[in-house]
Symmetry: C2
Subunit: 206 residues, 2 copies
């Protein structure tokens, strides 16, 4: 229900599902499913020819698309969103990479695509820790890390991310693919030629 976006706006994992989500995330099926998404992306990208103008682009989300917050949410027992605690966690810059995504960056770069990282994280307070965490987790070669500046605070993810993608379009980039763990990464305006949903049963971003 979550992956097909039938279940929306759920504030927390329901208690009867906590054990299921834990096992899904920690015992291998999550990693296999992410690998299957990465395979779908690589197969699609292999059919595309990136233009010589350097304007064919991919967009990736950060949280639970590039960087995993599994340890944070396990410690919270997949509880409700806690902005103060989450910011403290994100500031530590100790998120492991989501399996296979850093390698996917290299595959896309090798095929001539630009890679943009688009995050709803607060730019003012989390820009340096996010960049450091991405580097520590092996994410290299991306073109730009776009985060939420002060003027976009309080906007929904769909509205903020649509506005940022519009800017990329206005700069001339063609978004050939868009990768996120939330449907709010993948819906709205200028979503790209194809969108790819990475599994995330831990939380919902409206």
């Amino acid at each position: 229900m979550v992956e097909a976006n039938n279940a929306k706006n759920w504030p927390t994992v329901p208690p009867p599902c906590v054990g299921y989500v834990w096992r899904y995330m920690a015992w291998g099926q999550y990693a296999r499913d992410v690998a299957a998404v990465a395979d779908q992306i690589a197969a699609y990208a292999a059919q595309l020819a990136a233009g010589d103008d350097g304007l064919d682009a991919w967009v990736f989300d950060v949280d639970d698309t590039c960087l995993s917050n599994l340890f944070y949410y396990q410690a919270k027992q997949f509880g409700a969103y806690d902005p103060v605690a989450f910011k403290e966690w994100a500031s530590k810059a100790i998120c492991p990479g989501v399996p296979g995504i850093a390698q996917l960056f290299q595959t896309l770069r090798g095929r001539g695509f630009r890679v943009f990282i688009l995050s709803g994280r607060d730019q003012q307070t989390l820009a340096s820790s996010t960049a450091a965490n991405l580097a520590a987790a092996g994410f290299a070669g991306y073109d730009r890390l776009i985060m939420r500046s002060a003027e976009y605070r309080g906007m929904s993810a769909v509205v903020f991310k649509s506005a940022m993608r519009m800017q990329l379009m206005e700069e001339g980039y063609r978004i050939r693919g868009n990768v996120g763990d939330q449907w709010s990464d993948l819906q709205g305006d200028f979503v790209g030629d194809r969108v790819f949903k990475v599994p995330n049963p831990m939380y919902f971003v409206p």
Copy 2:
């Protein structure tokens, strides 16, 4: 991958997956997952107030949303689309109902919604058998069965269904919800306030 629309344009279930799809469809998990979609729909509809003007509407697809083609695809071992054999099967009007969907019609009707059925099946050759099959499977109380007339032959499902939904909008209906087993039922124009994906690992309609 199929349910999240990461896997697209697959012509047939890959041979290593046939046994998995068979077990998923026949051994109970499919029925439980459809019931979960129906629960999500009922919960969403319960929050809506249908207007007194009788213009609040729901749209349902036919094949593997209202009527199940499981027996046909099992006999075919989930093989590639065969338009002649499928038309022969559909003409027999012996599809069982997808579990729980006929009851959902009654729930929505009871809450004051109009229900429209929108199918890419050929109107000229399959209208009477489709209507008879729906009746035999307990689907009653819907407002209109909209099928593909001659002028829309050869169009993609997204284009045809978008055009039909636009007509409903022009008649004044407000599509509050849209239910289908294919993403092509749920994407395009005028898709409705919310869309609900019913599982279908058997085939892909572009």
